[in-house]
Amino acid sequence: MLFQDGYGSEMELFANLSLGFSIALTTTTLMLAVIGCILGTMIGALPGLGPTNGVAILIPISFTLGLDATQALVLMTSVYYGAMYGGRISSILLNIPGDEPAVMTTLDGYPMAKNGRAGDALVLSGFASFIGAFLATIGLMLLAPMLAQVAFYFGPAEYFALYLLAFCTLGGLGSNNQAKAAISVCIGLGIAMIGVDGSTGLTRFTGGNLHLFDGIDFLVAIVGLFAITEIFVFIESHGKETAIGVKLEKISIPVKEIIYTRWTVLRGSCIGFVAGLLPGAGASIGSFLAYMSEKAVVKDNSQFGKGDPRGIAAPEAGNNAAAGGALIPMLTLGIPGSGTTAVLLALLMTLNITPGPLLFNERPEVVWGLIATLLIANVMLLILNVPLVKFFTRILQVPASILLPGVTMISFVGIYSLSGSHFDLLLMIGFGILGYFLRKFDIPSVPVILGILLGGHMEVSLRRAMVLSDGDWTYLLSSPICIGLWVAAILGFVAPIFLKSLFKKPERIKD
């Protein structure tokens, strides 16, 4: 029976939470959370270093610290949440979004800052981020164990359909051109096929190169595609994008506006959270949906795009709520909802933690330690991001000509310390070049990462399903869950093609 333990579930929740806090409140863990929050906010604030590449370059480094699984996860998720907060700083002050979801914050944040209200915009968005992330963490606490129960009913056919859903929504909802997203997924899946085939023990697509027998390490691909690509992009723009946009004079708390936007923040949080649950594209569309629906719901939306405080509160709450929501499919099903959660999944896999329903039963200390840390980190981030926001805005002044070479060197040392082979470094450069061309052609690079991460699992589920059914293809549609997932997958891919105007992403505003 599902959810049969309604009677004891609250007790269980508190027991789990206290287990979590007992882990999160140890000195080491707490310190890691603080470091993670500070690093994350800095990474998010730095133009040209979004959450995805920031988390990616830190993963190899975190291994060398000799942290155990929980500690490494605490550090990196604090960085993740921190980067979500920090991203708004460069969006508002420089009109440079750190990653795709942050684009929505530039729409009203930058005009408001240009009107001389940069401080208000930063504080307001900090509060919205806090509420969004806080509600999402509560949602995570309540919903994740339930979804983990449902996930026990997932067999290979269901998993195959789920992977399909992730890729379809990523292509359909997460991108403006479905064909290009599909190509991107295929590149990733194709790369995942390289190496020894687990079922037969034969090598595939290695060209006889011994280095490739183990397959391509997804960390190499991630760091290449996100960090190394960035240096090429900056060389091309000659660091022009780092020009300081607007000045920040003084910081005060705009109480009136915080109260004025309270429903906006709540609506944005709910929409963002639900969007975050969607495997594949979830976290990246949270801020977009929150902004667009807020614009549709309010009576007078004439000020949207010109510095309306609701236009800052909605996407920031949505973005942070989606970031929390996306942890649910990542932890219970092993399906990330965005580029950054994909990187976190890569971290889990490298730490030998298999996300999925069993994680909640076998490693409760990991899950609940993480949840407790998120709650603590969120409060820390509010403190860091409201009274101390001025400190972080100084980071924006680091010139690209120092930052980018630094990031590149850190990437090299990180990857080199993982394997000690120069072949991986060459591969990483190769991925950097690939990422540059993908960006030139407007082909999204997140699906490549998801393809590499999930490709092996997707193939294994398909083949297991076929073994179970002895080659009967109808088995893939044999359960209600499967049928539901297939329908959702097809809808997720096809519907946006017909509803193009509704899902069209607004362009970034120009100066």
Binding site: I61, T64, L65, G66, N177, Q178, A179, K180, A182, I183, V185, C186, I187, L189, G190, M193, D197, S199, T200, G201, L202, R204, F205, I228, I231, F232, I235, E236, H238, G239, A400, S401, I402, L404, P405, G406, T408, M409, I410, F412, V413, Y416, S417, H422, L425, L426, I429, G432, I433, Y436, K440, F441, D442, E459, L462, R463, M466, V467, D470, G471
Partner: protein, 145 residues
Amino acid sequence: MNDRILGILIAVMALAFFASATQLETPFFSDPVGPKLFPYIISTVAFVASFNMIISPEKKPTWPALSVFSSLSIAVIILVVYAYSLRPLGFLLPTAVCASVLSYQIKQRIFYSFLTGVGLSIGLFVVFKFFLGLGLFAFPRWVWV
């Protein structure tokens, strides 16, 4: 190069991937699907999607001027050289050179780039070696045996 040409390129690559998948051996005791099917599916999807790029291309990407293109080539070359030199030459020298060259490609000021490179090299070495405890070698190992 535009979407059409890239579309054709991807179509060709998808065919090549398909062709090389047909060459895979299927062992006698294999699962009903075997190691070939999934690569077939991937290449078919990529092939179909590439046609969409050929039929309805989007706006042409803006390619950098020749001078920027040479900057990018220099960056790639220095990164490859760096990858090969990290082990034999130790950390400090290759990192200083590579970071200087990269910095110079972003902002063309020689002395400033040189300082950036040297500063990053020493700073990162201290952080990696003494704070994070990585087993880096500062100098080539034959300097001090």
